[in-house]
Symmetry: D2
Subunit: 405 residues, 4 copies
């Protein structure tokens, strides 16, 4: 690689971490690749900016932040005597950079409407394999780690576990940009408490209060931010718009939209036919395709499509109610009837709907392991000095109903 | 207005200021208006996020921030004994909220290509007048203040002067989101130092070092951020893309784009024919129209259009050089010839170009006035204890040349 | 009061909150009083700066911060329609400013050695009464509120309850100055969620996650900061030094120290004889008296006194172990014997000792009340959607042993 | 060194930088040394906390912060290809840690009264030499660098120059703790712009705006904070107290104070007799000695001593006026006469006095060197695109007069 290139972009500014170094030219070239540059046009938090106007940060920035934290993690673990070769370190940087590259625009909405049955993890893997071809196999180790096939288990756990680098960055970043200060965690302290025992990622005992705080902060972010009722209703309305668009496409109704978006609207894409060509088109699809289509659909002759699109664009959303128990069918009927005074039944089917959201603050299946001073491992629940953590394993479910104002 | 509405959205979260209150339901309704909601889809800093990945904040957020600072300013001035009626305060809030509403997507690029000869201030005024009709004249006083026609001169100076609320917010906000800490100013201290003397906005003597710091920080932000060479080249490439698109449109070449964007590409819009209908269409135009069009033009058959569009989307920009003197014609020719090895002359005309940028840190025409302890007013330059401020009045010019790598 | 005085000090800078206004000249005069100025020389966190070098903030600063938050609380409650007269508001400001004025230097250590049996709350009340005399009864209402005798119960709860202004400020402030980010809470959001129902201070339902986060952050601050083993051992060593000094004083051994400190060392002060003269001398006692005495005692002929004093000054502390169960007597004996190799038995009695610390994250006796959307009150434990809060009511006890290295 | 020790204190929390690592056990032992621990009891900003209540940070914390920045500087310079051996790096850490160790309590006041004619730099050197003896010569290289005798000139410039590590830390730290946001600089960016050319420390061209901002911020901190009139008058009153105490001591009047302070009050210490024993006693002298003595002197029979001491302790200071020209003798006489109405002439001599303060924002004698893209060095003044820097070379002088209210 030319020297020029390595000098071109060595440092990135991050309002949270300060200066971020790009460790070498291979990483630099991956960041420069159009696949990765696409993430500049995909926001991390979708419609959360309708509630928290500062939350416009991108998946690009989050991925770069993850790489920064991974560099710190490697430095800390090495300092504690854990051997990590330069190749392994590099693989970790690539794996964390690329783990979320498969996220589409408004990811969760799209997964429920456009590319049903293909998870973003699968698409991330496809991207990595494609990049591995282009970069002559230099991503092989990163892919092994990402897939959990590399023998040193803690490396996969750094990428994907209940206390992984991804979560450390997104909680801190989302808290920062939304201004929800309570969501803030100390990623620096959590990293400093990490260690490796029997090839497993563990947290040293004195870090237990930080882990507890991390779980509670994450829980707060879920209910106060990620599942905030305004973003929830907006996202569900987007699902409805996309479902309607899909229906119209099946009937060959013309829908103004970008070439890439058209491909996914007018084809049935599943894991069976998600081939290289699909991947290439997927790599051209971002927030701009989806939102600019919806902006056009404001003027569409289909009433369902135009009504929902207008509501989204002007932030004049459906009303939403949340509660801990299922909504009675009679209440649902009542809202339907009220809607029918203004809308046809067909439209009402898109405007009055129910659903539920769940959050489990702590999952005992793949527990966080605590390393005590004597070198023994305990599950977090057992290590905690209170019932507190146990309490967090109970999934919390909330039901919602949406209807026109 | 229904009580429900006033309760719906009273507080907004700002990562910089904390909680921002919306003072009343009239202001609330203006913020809810689609004209204002459009600002959610217009970034404050255009292509600066290509250099500073955190800089994705919107004009919506900036306008809300300005309103917050204006509330502070009113509170401080009233505390100092300056009479400001509730109507005047409200007018100030509306004026500062709406002063920038006329900014289009990638404002500066568009002003040089699409809506030539119509400044964003003029468009802001048109929006205000339109809203004034809709809100039965409740914006009349705000418009008077905005236009500088209200007798109490300091109110216009709060909206538009060398030390206005707009600048206080954008410097702090842009510094925050880019992570360029030196750009940070203390808007709180500057507001605390504001006073009114003979109906003019003045700064109390002890605030002189803060003013000096404000000017230097702004100067730094210009050269380090706003005119950073990467955003500069990207913005200039966008101007070229739009000029090319405009040319093709004149020849009736088909250009995929949104309905609103199409209107501005296929019509010649100037101040003479910028009518109500134009305003309505303008109100539908934002970053999503422009960027999603450019994404489509990547596949366009016109080589100039597709080359520039691809470069922008993949952040694979032209090379740019900056210096304090004009580039020699021979150097320009040399770059053209080198370009011709790869591109046709027609393409080269769009890919090799020069230009200049200017910044004047302090303008003596409408000076910042300093109020000394005896109640006398001095111009800032005279009040300063050094030549420092005088030095800042000299405009700094830098010349640039862009060409293919 | 002269106008000059009101202008002399209107605004204070706070690194956390920004500018703090002193609301009026009565409050200003209280702050200027030597009783209150003494708080400039009493650190908030005692020996915590031996672990967290940034933690040198004073009780003065904390009290000023509380006043700021109280101003916010009054503004928010008034905005929600709760009537608070100007006299009541003023009384609240005075009560929160003065509630902790009775804290002595290294408060907890002194309470266990020097002024045994007189709580800092009692001394605060004495100070308030004395100030009330000097200010011609202008503090009467503040005292009523502080004592819980004013009929509007929520006012006392703002001063003293499980979610009072004192805690909101100290958690945020201690977190800020120690750099322990996880201790950070959003005092702004908690204040915004406050309301009054049936004259009781309540939290609106949507604030429940913030309350939960507040409790967990406080718990973390206890175990990670306030009860950090290094500050714990230092504080316990200080208790030992003071006990030894007291013993020597009883035997009329000469102890170099300040006049004020001498009074408390050479007299037995209890609630029975804590009169006006004692209060006056107490008002001259601060961190400087205690630490400068200990510095002198480094050179004292009494070995116990000089050994412990030297250890504290040079931060060469005893070793400390903590665990959840009581230390076996045999282990204690073992440590004593080891100490006897180097020290006499008399000295060992001061150098080897055990103790325990307790923290209860949430107390059900005076519960935090949650106000649901229908206007009903629930206890926090019942309102929570998990067992989480219930779990926090269990007191956590840790036992410690200290001995020479 | 035992392994235990190295593990005891590896990480320190800094509210500004986050976690600070102590690089090795030698550095750890120096920090643990009583000489260095004394800095925990010396505040960085003296009486500035009378104006900025948050400014209680210590010289200990500042020195640790400098070590952190030096670690960064070494990492950055090595990354740029500058060879720095591990021994050199260690010497730099020790030199920066210890460069200010010679500062006494209320340093500037003491230098004008107690240890006249011995600069804190000389005392720092004495401490280093003493430590070098104790640590078997391991500080020799650090001392060479500190004294400017090591051939690699840039190393001394990192310790002491117009843009040294000391300034980078104290500006950022003092700005942080006072809450004066405009004083904030980006030490991270300035470090990132550092380079070495011909063994000189230089700043790369693109860092020029940051340097400019650094100079302006420093200037602002001088006039707004360091030379704030309230701290100025307090510090000058302290000089007067100490001068009076010295006078009384000469007459063998008894002054209650600590043993260490007594030594300096009752002896004439100059560079001629500042021997090892003096150094040992100096190492026991800190803020606690000085302030606790002044607290005792409140009750002293000498009226001058007690008047000034009472004023300082109760923050009931003399009035101060500042202006750019010398105060007329007639004005001074007038203030003396007014003082004589209340005080004797002897007392008035201590209560009415004049003086001046100076600040030069940029000194051309040892200029900051700018490295342009072609590898050429320019002085900062020449490299700047404006007259701005030149203007900053002019010293600004302000005269003051103090007198009783």
């Amino acid at each position: 690689m030319s020297n020029k290139k390595t000098n071109k972009l060595k440092i990135l500014n991050d309002p949270i971490y300060g200066f971020i170094n790009i460790p070498n030219s291979l990483i630099f070239d991956i960041i420069e690749h159009p696949f990765f540059q696409r993430l500049r046009r995909v926001t991390q938090m979708g419609f959360s900016n309708l509630v928290y106007p500062g939350a416009n940060h991108t998946r690009f920035h989050h991925a770069i932040g993850c790489m920064y934290l991974m560099q710190k993690a490697v430095r800390i673990l090495r300092f504690k005597g854990i051997t990590i070769s330069d190749d392994e370190a590099n693989a970790l940087y690539m794996a964390i950079l690329l783990q979320d590259i498969g996220h589409g625009a408004f990811s969760h909405a799209l997964e429920h409407s456009i590319v049903e049955g293909v998870s973003h993890e699968e698409i991330s893997l496809k991207f990595m394999q494609k990049l591995n071809d282009e970069f002559n196999g230099k991503l092989s180790l990163a892919i092994q780690i990402f897939e959990g096939k590399y023998p040193r288990k803690f490396m996969n756990q750094l990428i994907s576990s209940q206390l992984d680098i991804d979560r450390l960055d997104y909680l801190q970043r989302d808290s920062f940009y939304t201004g929800v200060k309570e969501g803030n965690i100390s990623s620096e302290r959590l990293l400093a408490m990490m260690n490796v025992k029997d090839d497993e990622l563990v947290i040293e005992q004195k870090g237990i209060y930080s882990v507890e705080n991390f779980l509670i902060s994450r829980r707060l972010m879920y209910w106060q931010v990620y599942l905030h009722k305004t973003s929830l209703v907006a996202e569900n309305m987007l699902v409805k718009v996309l479902q309607r668009a899909k229906e119209l496409a099946k009937k060959q109704v013309e829908l103004p939209c970008s070439t890439a978006f058209r491909y996914f609207l007018y084809h049935e894409i599943s894991s069976h036919n998600f081939d290289d060509n699909t991947l290439k088109i997927f790599s051209q699809l971002d927030d701009y395709d989806v939102l600019s289509a919806i902006k056009e659909w404001v003027h569409h002759s289909d009433k369902v499509l135009s009504t929902l699109s207008t509501m989204i664009i002007n932030r004049n959303l459906l009303k939403i109610e949340l509660k801990e128990t299922v909504f009675e069918n009679s209440y649902y009927k009542e809202k339907q009837q009220k809607s029918n005074l203004k809308y046809t039944q067909k439209e009402t089917n898109y405007l009055v709907f129910t659903g539920k959201v769940t959050n489990q603050a702590y999952n005992t299946k793949h527990p966080i392991k605590i390393l005590d001073k004597l070198g023994n491992l305990k599950d977090l629940v057992a290590a905690s000095d209170q019932l507190n953590i146990q309490a967090l394993t109970k999934p919390v479910v909330k039901h919602f109903i949406c209807y026109p104002k």
